[in-house]
Each structure stands twice: as structure tokens, then as C-alpha cells.
């Protein structure tokens, strides 16, 4: 579980769904929730909040610029790789702290990922949970 602490900077609501923007260090994360400021009192601009996403939901892109639909992108450097038969665990050092990603070992090979490499970690808006 990746947990980052941030502050809510914007909330966009339509019916019962909201897109919430959270600032963690200099990075802005977006998450989509079935909640509104009426149903979840913690959804207030300026509130401190934790964002949570699973290691298996982190997408790795080689290099630093990627044109994708993925709203949350953080560039960083791989500082550790633990390679298993099928899966690999990468630790990525970023401006928001260390992020763990679990991807297939095939992907690690195909992208020829190495320690020290500059990459971009990406997380879809539908994969980020909030916690107080």
C-alpha cells in the first residue's frame, strides 16, 4: 500500500461523484470518488488527507514524458528492484517520497529497467483512495 500525505486543493462535484485534487509536495493527484462534501465531511478544501493506492496499480513508463489518459504522473528514479519469477517489486524515489510498484518481471525485462533509471510512475484516478 502506498500512502502519501497531502492537502485537498480542489473538489469538482456532479451528482454523487466528485473528482478531488490533492497536493502532495509539488505534485497534484486526482482521484474520483462516489462521495460529495455533503456525504463525506472530510472533503473540504485545505483539509489534510492521505492518498492510498496499491503497488499493483502503479504503471511504469520509461523516461519522463508520456501522453496518456492517466492523470497522476510522478517522475522518479528506480532505487531498488526485487525480481521474482513472475513479478518484480520496484522502489521509486520521487519528490513525494518513495513509491512501491509491483509489475510483471516480463515488463521489467522488456523495458530493461535498471536501478538508477529515470522513469514515470502513473496511477489512474480510479485507483486512488482517500483516508483521514
Amino acid at each position: 500500500m502506498n500512502v502519501l500525505k497531502g492537502k485537498i486543493t480542489a473538489i469538482k462535484t456532479n451528482d454523487s461523484i466528485s473528482i478531488v485534487t490533492i497536493q502532495v509536495a509539488s505534485i497534484f493527484f486526482n482521484t474520483i470518488l462516489i462521495e460529495t462534501p455533503d456525504t463525506a465531511p472530510y472533503l473540504q478544501k485545505g483539509n489534510s488527507i492521505k492518498i492510498i493506492f496499491k503497488e499493483t496499480e502503479v504503471i511504469i513508463g520509461k523516461g519522463t514524458t508520456h501522453l496518456t489518459s492517466i492523470q497522476n504522473q510522478i517522475s522518479g528514479e528506480i532505487i531498488n528492484i526485487e525480481k521474482g519469477m513472475l513479478l518484480s517489486k520496484l522502489i521509486i524515489d520521487t519528490t513525494v517520497g518513495k513509491i512501491t510498484a509491483i509489475i510483471t518481471s516480463d515488463a521489467t525485462d522488456q523495458l530493461q529497467l535498471k536501478i538508477g533509471e529515470k522513469i514515470t510512475s502513473m496511477i489512474k484516478t480510479t485507483e486512488i483512495m482517500l483516508s483521514q
Partner: protein, 291 residues
């Protein structure tokens, strides 16, 4: 509205314990007393039932005073309109199911309630059986029906399901909920099974050492870190297995097993038997109609 204030010195395993509680219960709700053994849950029910005398207290049920130690009022258990179901059924072995129910009728009470109850709790096919021919779950259904014969103002269930296997438990929970809703009962349940508490109760009172330390909706009481994920279930860890570089954690939720992938640092904080919340976002699960 039911108002209950009770104080009593109890002898617990660890010495003298002062039970001191103040509860307000809305009519028609199901409230669960949750906590470990020996924290005073059963004593609370027994005092409400009039089977145990508090040192000090007041019980007012729908404006009627059942107990007021200051005014010297204390109704007998028979005068209090309660239904009680215990873990050990307590049925009359020499009577059939129907006779057990008939025996609970008040003098002059309409017998219609018996067939109504046998219908709701599905006892018609068993009505001529004696208790020793029944399974544990069936006996507990009879005990539940019997507790409802006098249309109690408060139904009290003291761990009624803890002797049953998990499948039977789920079924009995459904019967209790059905009866609770159809009769508009105010129900007090004792349980230490979080999954059961979440399924059954409107309000849970978390009791420790004779005091209520927390109360509210079960999901709020049991979720310490409120996660926004809408796909949330509470369960118990039954297996943690390392596979490749990850761990697979098997969780029992109700009577279903689910498997969740976890990472080493998460698993380090967990052990088999731990109660946990399984959470995911509402955007992830697939729905597929059962053919």
C-alpha cells in the same frame, strides 16, 4: 425511546469492576453490545430483564418506568415485556415445537400469534417434533419464536448464534432480522463477531471494563481509518502465504473466502485471526449476472 442507566459493582476475573452505563435506544432499532467476555454485557441484559438487581439505576421503556432505584420501583421480570434468547435454547424437552410456543402464551392471549410466528420463522413443518429431533439451528429458531410470543417491547439475544456453524449462523441472522423488522421490535444483541455486528445492527456499543467506550454505526465504530473505498467488507484473516515476491492473504468474509494480494510491509503488521477491512474502489469490481 428506551433510557437505561445502570451502575453495579461486579466481580470480574481481574477483581472488582464497576459497571457504569448510560444508553438511549430508539424504538425499532437493533443495538448490539460488543466486547470481550467478562466486560459486563450479559449483566446489562440481565439487569434490563430484571434478573439482576443494579446498585443504582433507572430503566424507562416507552415512558413506563421498569426500574428506578431512587424511587424504589422495580418491576418483576414477568411484568417487564421482554423476550430472551440464550445460547443454550432452553426449550422444554417433553413438549413439541408448537407446545413450547403455546406454553409461552399469556392468559387469554390470542393464539393467532403462534401461527403467524411459525409462518415467519418457517416452523410449520417442525411443529409436531420434539426438541431432541431438531438441529441446533432449528432449536434456536424455536427459541426465537418462543421469545416473540408475548410481543416483547425488548427482544434480548445473548450470543444466540455462537454455538452454530457459520452457514447456520447466516441463516439464523436472516430469521432474526426478518422477525425484528416484521414485528417492529427493539432488539438488543450480544455478539463478539464483527461481521455479525455489521450485518445485524443499526447501532453498536463497544463495551470495555463495564463502560461504553465507543458507540455508533458499526462501520464507523470498526473502521478506525476511514477509507473512501465503497467496496468494503470486514473479515478475518485465515491464511497468509508468500508467493513469488508478494503475499496472498485469504480472508473469511461472512461465509465466503476472498484472496487479496498484499505486500511484505503490510503483512508484517498482520497475523492469522486478525479482523480486517477489505477495501477497494467502487470503480474496480465487475458485475456479472448469474446464469
Amino acid at each position: 425511546m428506551i433510557q437505561i442507566t445502570l451502575q453495579k459493582e461486579l466481580t470480574a476475573a481481574s477483581g472488582i469492576m464497576l459497571l457504569d452505563i448510560n444508553i438511549h435506544i430508539q424504538q425499532g432499532t437493533l443495538t448490539t453490545l460488543y466486547g470481550n467476555s467478562g466486560v459486563g454485557k450479559t449483566s446489562i441484559l440481565r439487569m434490563i430483564a430484571g434478573l439482576l438487581q443494579p446498585d443504582e439505576g433507572q430503566i424507562i421503556v416507552n415512558q413506563k418506568t421498569w426500574l428506578d432505584t431512587k424511587k424504589g420501583i422495580c418491576l418483576t421480570p414477568q411484568q417487564r415485556k421482554i423476550g430472551f434468547v440464550f445460547q443454550d435454547y432452553a426449550l422444554f424437552p417433553n413438549m413439541t415445537v408448537k407446545e413450547n410456543l403455546l406454553y409461552a402464551l399469556e392468559k387469554g392471549q390470542d393464539k393467532e400469534i403462534i401461527s403467524q410466528l411459525m409462518h415467519i420463522i418457517e416452523l410449520k413443518d417442525l411443529q409436531h417434533q420434539k426438541p431432541n429431533k431438531l438441529s441446533g439451528g432449528q432449536k434456536q429458531r424455536v427459541a426465537l419464536a418462543r421469545a416473540l410470543v408475548r410481543k416483547p417491547e425488548i427482544l434480548m439475544l445473548d450470543e444466540p448464534l455462537s454455538a452454530l456453524d457459520i452457514k447456520m449462523r447466516a441463516k439464523l441472522q436472516d430469521y432474526i432480522l426478518k422477525a425484528h423488522q416484521q414485528f417492529g421490535l427493539t432488539t438488543l444483541l450480544i455478539s463478539h463477531d464483527i461481521a455479525e455486528v455489521i450485518k445485524m445492527s443499526d447501532i453498536v456499543l463497544n463495551i470495555e471494563n463495564g463502560k461504553i467506550i465507543q458507540q455508533g454505526k458499526p462501520i464507523d465504530v470498526f473502521t478506525t481509518k476511514q477509507v473512501s473505498g465503497k467496496f468494503q467488507f470486514s473479515g478475518e484473516i485465515v491464511e497468509i502465504k508468500k508467493e513469488d515476491i508478494i503475499y496472498i492473504v485469504t480472508v473469511l468474509i461472512g461465509s465466503n473466502f476472498v484472496k487479496v494480494v498484499a505486500e511484505e510491509t503490510e503483512v508484517q503488521t498482520m497475523k492469522i485471526g486478525d479482523k480486517i477491512i477489505v477495501a477497494s474502489k467502487a470503480f474496480n469490481p465487475l458485475l456479472q449476472k448469474i446464469k
